[in-house]
């Protein structure tokens, strides 16, 4: 076991040395599983949230979509690797992606094959898990336009592929969705969805729902008009497209649309809440996560920030940016909407994940989704009505005083609003939010949500900006800085019923990796200086860590190998917005660089170096 990093500490410090080196055996695993079954519900009582079975069916040991299932739990029911044996975890195999930019993708596992997508140039590798060392089964190079790199706001990342129906679906930075035969790598179809000369790129991982591939665009910093599109998985034909701004017919708002809060109801709000025509360059892109409730037949996703960042150029609510949508996946028709941050002034996109759980609220069972917003509040939202059940801060926030549950709107701190020519100091959280894209996990065993996030603040000065298609449309100078305490990252275990943190691990660097929980009572995440960690799901105690050689901003997954054993996989390779100083070789002397991120990441080059590598871990065989 590796030593503890100097800067890591636990608020609830019950560190326990995993000296128990007894080899895992079948009876022992059974015993542990039985014990946990007895123990966890007893601890949590009837209050433990459950995951809707239709959205998270029986775990077959594969990992076919980045979020694991439609409920987006990122929870594996595999329990061979657990707190008692994780200290023995060792590398099963590694694989170089050959690409030195930020590796944000989740490895996808289906039919004993692992599929990874690299950042630009978006190479897809299929690795044969049935053979020693998992050699390349096939690879595919889409050759995206090199110029696309110049309109990607925050490194040239890709958040991964999805597997369905014998096909691999993924997106390229230059706005194409491609379907490959998962067995051979042969291109089945390729559909162009956008134009890089408008500043549009695609970085998100597609989701397959009911025979449709759902894809959204990136480019909220370039005045791109956001959308979500559905493609036919068999042909690649565009079935519908729902814009985030513009008239109701473009947003796919029709007679069946009814939001919970009054300010989210009205005709053509995507036009009337903007100055004339500003909605056409208003952002609201969709580069994050989609969840799906098969029982309600609704997909859930949030839209990105309004453009430009300078709020004075766009008076109004700027709908439907930073908005949670519930839509019918068959038609794209919106059922309801909830705008998290009307007239956003701080770049608080709404694209973070939604985790679907059912839980009791005031003694009544509710179907809800859990959404840790960039604005620092953990929204519990009714999946049927769009009502906010609760919204509590999950870290330090001073820009939003509270979320008004009567109006659904945040109550902003007037001292932290932004304006042209004035430097507003110490706005918390910073532009990338209390948490950015990197997804949380939820364990039905503990009933806890595991949130990898940031603790950053910023100084902000707006300035006027002209729209020139294909160039940044921002109009703000930002310098980020560490939040209170100086630790730039936090890993928080959150009780969604109580609406509060159970424990928090402080990390020196911002957390830009996703989290994964397992039935082994463990939670995995990585740090931007390259440590891949397993912590106890109940206590947060560090159980194991491994230095991967470059910062981790990827998504951990677990799967059952062809040999019947559990494996844990993670892509290492620093980059992304927070890591662009390393992957883009930026100059640490300009704190405004990378949209202000250099200000708080100036030391990253002294702590890690670029390089993309897949690591897969397992227990030693007896």
């Amino acid at each position: 076991m590796m030593p503890f990093p100097a800067l890591q500490s636990l608020r609830r410090h019950r560190r326990q040395d995993p000296t128990d080196s007894i080899r895992s055996s079948r009876w022992r695993r059974v015993l542990l599983a039985a014990a946990s079954l007895l123990l966890y519900p007893a601890l949590a009582g009837a209050q433990t949230p459950t995951v809707p079975a239709s959205a998270a069916p029986f775990d077959d040991g594969q990992w076919t979509m980045p979020a694991k299932n439609y409920a987006a739990t990122r929870y594996s029911a595999l329990d061979e690797i657990n707190g008692a044996n994780v200290s023995n975890l060792q590398v099963a195999f590694a694989f170089s992606t050959g690409v030195d930019h930020g590796q944000e993708a989740a490895p996808i596992v289906a039919n004993n094959t692992m599929f990874i997508v690299t950042p630009y140039p978006n190479i897809v590798f299929a690795l044969d898990l049935t053979k020693p060392g998992a050699p390349i089964k096939w690879s595919y190079q889409p050759h995206p336009a090199a110029a696309a790199q110049g309109v990607a706001c925050c490194d040239v990342v890709n958040r991964g592929a999805s597997y369905s129906d014998g096909k691999i679906f993924f997106n390229t930075l230059d706005d194409n969705t491609i379907a490959l035969d998962a067995e051979t790598g042969k291109v089945l179809w390729k559909t162009n969805l956008g134009d890089i000369n408008t500043g549009e790129t695609i970085t998100m991982a597609p989701l397959v729902v009911k025979g449709k591939v759902l894809v959204g665009d990136s480019g909220g910093e370039l005045g791109v008009r956001g959308w979500l599109t559905a493609l036919d998985i068999a042909t690649g034909k565009i079935l519908w497209r729902a814009f985030a701004t513009g008239p109701d017919k473009d947003v796919l708002i029709g007679p069946g649309f009814r939001s919970f809060y009054p300010s989210d109801n009205g005709a053509d709000l995507g036009v009337t809440t903007w100055p004339t025509d500003a909605w056409q360059t208003g952002g609201g892109t969709m580069w994050g996560w989609i969840a799906y409730d098969p029982d309600l037949n609704l997909i859930y996703y949030g839209t990105g920030n309004p453009g430009p960042w300078n709020q004075e150029q766009r008076p109004g609510d700027n709908k439907w940016t930073t908005t949670l949508f519930a839509r019918d996946p068959d038609t794209g028709a919106a059922k309801w909407a909830l705008q998290y941050n009307p007239h956003d002034e701080h770049d608080y996109d709404g694209i973070n994940e939604q985790i679907l759980v059912d839980m009791n609220v005031d003694g009544k069972p509710r179907k809800v989704l859990l959404h840790p917003d960039r604005n620092g509040h953990l929204y519990v939202v009714d999946r049927e009505s769009g009502e906010i059940v609760s919204a509590n801060p999950y870290g330090y926030v001073n820009s939003v005083l509270r979320v008004d549950l009567n109006t659904g709107r945040p109550v902003m701190n007037p001292d932290k609003l932004t304006r042209v020519g004035v430097v507003v100091h110490d706005i918390c959280p910073t532009a990338s939010g209390l948490k950015d894209w990197n997804p949380s996990a939820f364990s039905p065993l503990t009933g806890l949500m595991y949130i990898p996030h940031e603790n950053l603040c910023m100084d902000w000065k707006s300035r006027s900006v002209s729209y020139i298609a294909g160039t940044p449309f921002v109009g703000a100078e930002v310098v980020s800085k560490p939040g209170p305490g100086g630790n730039r990252g936090e890993f928080t275990a959150w009780d969604p019923v109580a609406g509060k943190a159970v424990w928090t691990i402080k990390e020196d660097l911002p957390l830009w990796s996703g989290a994964m929980a397992t039935a082994g009572g463990l939670v995995f995440y990585g740090t931007m200086d390259g440590w891949f960690k397993a912590v106890d799901a109940k206590t947060g105690d560090l159980k194991w860590q491994f230095q991967t050689g470059s910062g981790i901003i990827g998504q951990p997954v677990a799967y059952r190998g062809p040999d019947g054993h559990e494996y844990i996989a993670i892509l290492s390779g620093v980059g992304g917005w927070a890591g662009a100083i390393v992957s883009g070789d930026l100059d640490p002397r300009d704190p405004t660089g990378a949209l202000g991120m250099i200000g708080v990441m100036a030391d990253l080059k002294t702590k890690t170096a670029p390089g993309g590598t897949l690591y897969v871990f397992t227990l030693p065989r007896s």
Binding site: V465, S466, V474, P482, D585, R589, D590, T592, G593, D603
Partner: protein
Amino acid sequence: MSSPCRDPERSVAETHLLPIAVVTFLALSANDAMAQQGAAPDADSGPDSVSVTGLFPNGGAPPAQDPVGARFEESKLAIADGKQLFNQMNCTGCHFNGGGGMGPALMSGHWRYGGQMDQIYASIAQGRPNGMPSWQFVLQPQQIWELAAYVKSLSMTAPISASETAAPGASVKP
């Protein structure tokens, strides 16, 4: 070999693509004295003959630098006008104040495509394959020289090692 960026009339005609406010600003920012001297690159040694390689086979040598660049380099007026253009054309959105972001750092002293004035001019005018847009149909030659002068000035501070500036900033008090 001729190039659209040589033709001042065409360059001016194309500026209608820009918002009116920007065009007005550009007109005000033009330096009449320099314009009269002629800012178009020299035909024999201008940006079109700029090399971005350091390899010249069989004893070849790099082409002579465009002499026009020297009139703008280290000119305080050109640098100031270039800085304003750098903001107006949204160059800051990618390169910020020289540290870089979507685009590379410009203050580091490392140049992918050469750090001579005419090489910087060529990169701005022609664009570069990994994401640098081509501005030759939007800006006049003089404006591109002014931008080049500002970009060049960003790199004039002595390079220091990353570790010397490795402070993540003071943390915020709650």
